[in-house]
């Protein structure tokens, strides 16, 4: 039982936190701009490389240097929105989907160009895990990821329900035309959506990069699970996306547990297929997700 918690549940929650933070942005962008942002994974990559670069120059813990990665991701997101997505806003959104597919490639090639195509680590060396109650083990990084995600989730909840900007975002996501009639500045809402989405993407990217290692495909490889998380939580429901991310993370990890026999239920090498099947099943049978999100 303790092995299940240490080796499956905690890693599931950790990767789930990464998915959650990435999926928030995907869900908000889907809600407000109405397209599936295919470059979101690579936006994570860019943010994580921003922190990695800061680590080279400033001898501090990577998480303290997060603002550098966030800033880089925010600048990148606002730039691609301005130059590549905004000119396509009046067209069917599938054109923006195609454009974002191209932006994913642009981000990735820039990462390969400026950093490297190989693996890099944030902090060399192995750190022993924390041991609690004699048997419960958790690495510092996993604990940080899970705690920070919970903190962000709470902050996001208050931001969306209490602040003027947060309510305006939900209003635009609900009924963009009515939001314009009510005199809301939709472009400002769009800009802040990118700022928040990109900042959380950078955070997710750093956790993912610290958990394994940094490489240019880091974010793209997480994209499918984050889409699944956004769909699971309900499109346009940032809090749902957090829940969705955690559920997908736990589902992926625990699907490889020896539930029925001594063999893993699903071979670990097919782990990433779990997210796909959850997503497709949801889209077919409950497209509004768990938390009544929007339908296309």
């Amino acid at each position: 039982m303790i092995d299940f918690i240490n080796l499956y549940l905690v890693p599931g929650l950790t990767i789930g936190s990464v998915y959650a933070l990435g999926a928030v942005g995907i869900s908000m962008i889907f809600g407000i701009l109405r397209f599936a942002h295919f470059a979101h994974g690579d936006l994570m990559t860019i943010g994580a490389y921003g922190v990695l670069t800061a680590v080279w120059f400033i001898p501090l813990h990577p998480l303290l240097l997060l603002p550098f990665g966030m800033a880089l991701a925010i600048v990148a997101a606002l730039a691609v929105d301005q130059f590549f997505y905004k000119p396509l806003r009046k067209l069917p959104t599938i054109y923006t989907v195609i454009a974002s597919f191209g932006v994913a490639l642009i981000f990735r090639s820039l990462a390969q160009l400026f950093w490297s195509s190989g693996n890099q680590v944030f902090i060399p060396g192995v750190r022993p895990p924390l041991v609690l109650f004699d048997t419960f083990r958790i690495s510092a990084l996993h604990a940080q990821a899970i705690i920070l995600t919970v903190v962000i989730a709470v902050a996001l909840h208050f931001f969306l329900t209490r602040s003027k900007l947060g309510r305006a975002m939900r209003a635009v996501s609900d009924e963009p035309e009515l939001a314009a009639v009510a005199g809301l500045d939709t472009e400002r809402v769009v800009r802040w959506t990118w700022v928040i989405g990109a900042a959380l993407a950078a955070t997710a990217g750093v956790f993912a990069g610290m958990d394994t290692s940094m490489h240019p495909n880091l974010g793209w490889n997480l994209l499918l699970a984050m889409f699944a998380a956004a769909v699971l939580g309900g499109i346009g429901k940032p809090m749902g996306a957090i829940a969705g991310g955690l559920i997908i993370g736990i589902a992926e990890e625990t699907a490889t547990y020896t539930w029925l026999s001594d063999e893993p239920l699903i071979s670990p090498s097919y782990k990433s297929a779990v997210a796909f099947f959850i997503m497709v099943a949801l889209l077919l049978f409950r497209p509004q997700g768990l938390f009544k999100g929007r339908l296309l």
Partner: protein, 314 residues
């Protein structure tokens, strides 16, 4: 010598260009005619490549088969297996709306990649399959073989083109475009939208499988890491958008134009200072990414636009 070298470089470019033309025609069936977004092109391409390789290679213990059958059987198998895979996928996913299908197709490509990497009894895993035969490989060798293969690839392009053109002008194609342009009214007119979409997806996937087979017999070796899947998928999309989606001739011209451009940038990036050479492929990827943005903003109808008026309402 210089000239013949250049000539055969051009031949190799045109062979690959032909294979891309087949892929581009396939995507045109799915997206251009059917409005189905497929971001998993490389997956079906790989399925076709492996199917043809397994059917035509000599018996081996490292992977399934080989069955040592003639190449036409291999190509037929490529289309069949890719088509059946497409059918299984379409059965589940074809009801999904545009963006959702796009998200799902990324997952499909990922799962196909996982199968190829992990099921080594089938594909020899990451070591790949070698010794894939070329047509008439025992009669002609070297550069003459390339010329022969060039003819064969473009014969396939021609056949696929004729097929796609027939499909386009047929009542079937008209219904398909009606669905693409206004799904609700097509549904109201009593068309079985899902069934048409399923057929479209399967036909497109089968043609992608054919392209995969053609590539396997050209390179004679295939492994999961031989191609960058995202790049293949992406290039085909750029080709179709640049050529003019909805137009078969546009698809071929777009494939050739972008592939020539892609190959030309290789010549250019080879002249970069040595410390940049290793990064040249990233510069090229960046370039194609930017090219797509240009096409989407300024050149949306492509080199040869679709003729019938395009009214999208999705």
């Amino acid at each position: 010598m210089e000239l013949t070298g250049l000539f055969f470089y051009l031949v190799s470019v045109l062979i690959a260009g032909g294979i891309y033309a087949v892929l581009c025609l396939a995507l045109n069936v799915q997206w251009g005619m059917g409005g189905l977004f497929n971001a998993g092109i490389a997956g079906f391409f790989a399925v076709g490549a492996y199917a043809s390789a397994i059917v035509t290679t000599a018996v081996s213990e490292r992977h399934l088969g080989g069955f040592d059958l003639p190449i036409p059987f291999g190509l037929a198998a490529a289309m069949l297996v890719a088509g059946v895979t497409g059918w299984a996928v379409a059965k589940i996913c074809v009801r999904l709306k545009s963006d959702y299908l796009a998200m799902a197709s990324v997952g499909i490509a990922e799962i196909l990649r996982l199968v190829i990497v992990n099921e080594s009894w089938l594909t020899n895993g990451s070591l790949g399959i070698s010794g894939v035969p070329r047509p008439f490989g025992d009669m002609v060798r070297g550069r003459e073989a390339d010329l022969l293969y060039l003819a064969m690839v473009w014969l396939c392009v021609l056949c696929v083109y004729i097929l796609c053109q027939r499909l386009y002008v047929s009542p079937w194609g008209r219904t398909l475009r009606a669905i693409r342009d206004n799904e609700d009214s097509a549904r109201a007119a009593g068309k079985d939208v899902d069934w048409f979409r399923l057929q479209t997806f399967v036909i497109g996937c089968a043609i992608m499988g054919l392209a995969g087979g053609l590539s396997a017999h050209y390179f004679k070796f295939l492994s999961p890491s031989a191609t960058e899947p995202l790049l293949v998928t992406f290039l085909v999309w750029v080709m179709l958008m640049a050529g003019g989606s909805g137009n078969n001739r546009g698809a071929i011209i777009g494939a050739l134009a972008i592939w020539l451009l892609w190959s030309a940038t290789e010549i250019f990036t080879n002249r970069l200072p040595p410390e940049w050479i290793t990064r040249s492929s990233y510069i090229r990827m960046l370039f194609v990414g930017l090219l797509l943005q240009f096409v989407l903003q300024r050149f949306r109808s492509g080199l040869i636009p679709e003729k019938s008026p395009e009214i999208r309402s999705d």
